[in-house]
Symmetry: C2
């Protein structure tokens, strides 16, 4: 049986659960490598994966004998079989944050389990700590993102539209071996940069615009996430001042992030420094990155936990001035016992593209 499933079984035992229904496909991919539609059952002694004919060939090609997972076509399972999976189980876990109310009722009906128990993100919490293989894939996705950024610095010109730059980024990823973008690429210029989750538009880049580029790719299922705010033509004085404040806090957070650091305090420190300078931290400081672009842990003032070694999180302070502009600088970062390692390594000092010397004052 693979290590990840062994770990889960151990954990379930501690919670006095004799089985679990795993429904979230991301959690199933994490545990088994299977990338399909189906349900994984961790029963008293066995592991079962129930899928349909569309995925049988694919699933069989991913699993090996060592996985110890019995694969079923759901058509072949009788109501009697369903009832037997969890016989003699007192408590069976389910994913209350993934499973719909309708599916919960269906599970109650199908499995006739004595007690379906909430598992409180047990697998999402397990996924926070990455193993070597996972870190390698995230590093690969981050390298592609850095390379793409280098390409953009010579590509971006005044007069291009935001969408044009988005397309270039997504083409770059496809042409260089990524699975695709890890989320909807953001290129937001001028006033549009004042929204933390801006949508890219047909707006053209103008001289004096900040351009916030928030992008990343997936590589073999694992995500990267990076933001740089760069400037077109020249860098206006007020933006430079805000940029320096954001960068100072991004670098300070980088120094502070390590095993044992309080997530709440990391967030609070940036919040306080922004406030001292007359600004606010309107968006959380970061989030976990892995098979999903946003996963645990969330780096926010509400999180009372400590960072642990082998977490991969973002470090992304930003200042957003509605109607004016926004600045965000973000890296994907690996937490270690003694500090953190930036997995994205692109230049963070302010960069001006398509520089217009005549516009400097």
């Amino acid at each position: 049986m693979n290590e990840k499933i062994k770990w889960l079984r151990e954990k379930l035992r501690g919670l006095n659960m004799q089985g679990m229904i795993v429904s979230n496909p991301v959690n199933i991919k994490y545990l088994t490598g299977i990338d399909a539609e189906g349900t994984l059952l961790i029963t008293r002694k066995e592991n079962h994966y129930i899928t349909d004919s569309r995925y049988l060939e694919e699933v069989q090609s991913v699993l090996t004998i060592d996985d110890e997972i019995i694969v079923h076509n759901f058509c072949d399972i009788s109501s009697y079989d369903y009832e037997n999976f969890f016989s003699f189980c007192e408590n069976v876990g389910f994913e209350e944050n993934y499973v719909t109310y309708a599916t919960y009722k269906l599970y109650m009906h199908l499995y006739k389990a004595n007690n379906l128990e909430e598992t409180e993100k047990i697998l999402e919490k397990q996924r926070m700590i990455k193993d070597e293989k996972e870190i390698e894939l995230i590093q690969k996705a981050c390298n592609l993102t850095d390379d793409c950024f280098t390409h953009l610095l010579s590509y971006i010109k005044i007069g291009m539209t935001e969408k044009q730059i988005v397309n270039e980024i997504e083409k770059y990823f496809l042409e260089h071996g990524a699975d695709g973008p890890s989320f909807e690429t953001i290129v937001a210029s001028g006033k549009n940069s004042s929204k933390p989750h801006a949508k890219s538009t047909e707006k053209q880049i103008e001289a004096g615009d900040p351009i916030t580029i928030d992008f990343g790719c997936k590589y073999k299922g694992y995500c990267s996430d990076m933001t740089r705010t760069i400037f077109a033509g020249y860098l206006p004085a007020k933006m430079k001042q805000v940029y320096d404040l954001v960068l100072k806090n991004q670098l300070q957070t980088e120094k502070d992030m390590k095993e044992g650091a309080s997530i709440r305090i990391l967030h609070k420190n940036v919040e306080n420094d922004f406030r001292l300078n007359g600004y606010t931290l309107d968006h959380s400081l970061g989030h976990g990155v892995g098979l999903e672009i946003h996963e645990l842990p969330y780096i926010s003032a509400k999180n009372d936990n400590l960072l642990k070694a082998n977490m991969v999180v973002t470090n992304e302070p930003g200042i957003y001035l509605p109607g004016e502009f926004g600045i965000r600088i973000e890296d994907t970062v690996l937490i270690t016992k003694s500090g953190c390692i930036n997995l994205t390594k692109s230049e963070k000092n302010d960069i001006i593209v398509d520089r217009k010397e005549e516009l400097f004052k």
Copy 2:
């Protein structure tokens, strides 16, 4: 108040529900045009949309006074406000097929509604019938898909990999004004075509390969979906025979699809003809297309409903021979009172790309 929300209110009244919590963002986009994260509350007399600071600017820019939707930042809502939204409501609907078990429990706690009632896909059913504007957007997405297919016929050459063709398709969509692909593009050649939901690989196209291309794009949120199986170099005799059988059934279904046609019988007819010829119909015959790539109605033997005018569905019979090859031909189709209109219009007779005369026997 907009027509779609009026329609929903009418429907709720008929179900003796005095309000509804709409949580599915696709349903919210359908009702309001809002493309964000938040919750729409249809209360006794008002409509409320609760979101967070990230989306406030965006949401306000989409809504007009005529929408009659009051927008809230969730930070500003007290527990007292939550309890008041549905005061004097006997039954409040919720989306049991979208809302997780955990969220259901949260709603019970927050809104203190007397009775949260399952709404049985009320909005998904409303979305089956498209209005003029929606049909126009789907037609636009289908046109882009047809144009892309024309481009592919001269682009695809023996020796290219499946992934290379996928990239070309996705680049084409981005460069021609689509939002992006409407689902993970499938290019499956040779034996790989025998899986209905194949993943594209680094396999090279070989002479004599069938190439199943299943693709579509989104245009302003609305999807297209088309499949063509084409042939590289030459067309082997057995494949030609299966191709002709699939095409015959695709054309027959096209003739039969109209308002009032029994979905079950449409499916059964193809199933029977395949069986008569020694094959099976292993995959359902089609599905609705709209804001989502797969939506109601599903064209399968289990669906006892009739087609209605202004539904948009796919017509996609396929034969899959594991270890050998597969053939699928699919159009996106608009149902009318008297028949159906293909919204995708690409050539359906067998096409050979990169033709090798010397390989013909």
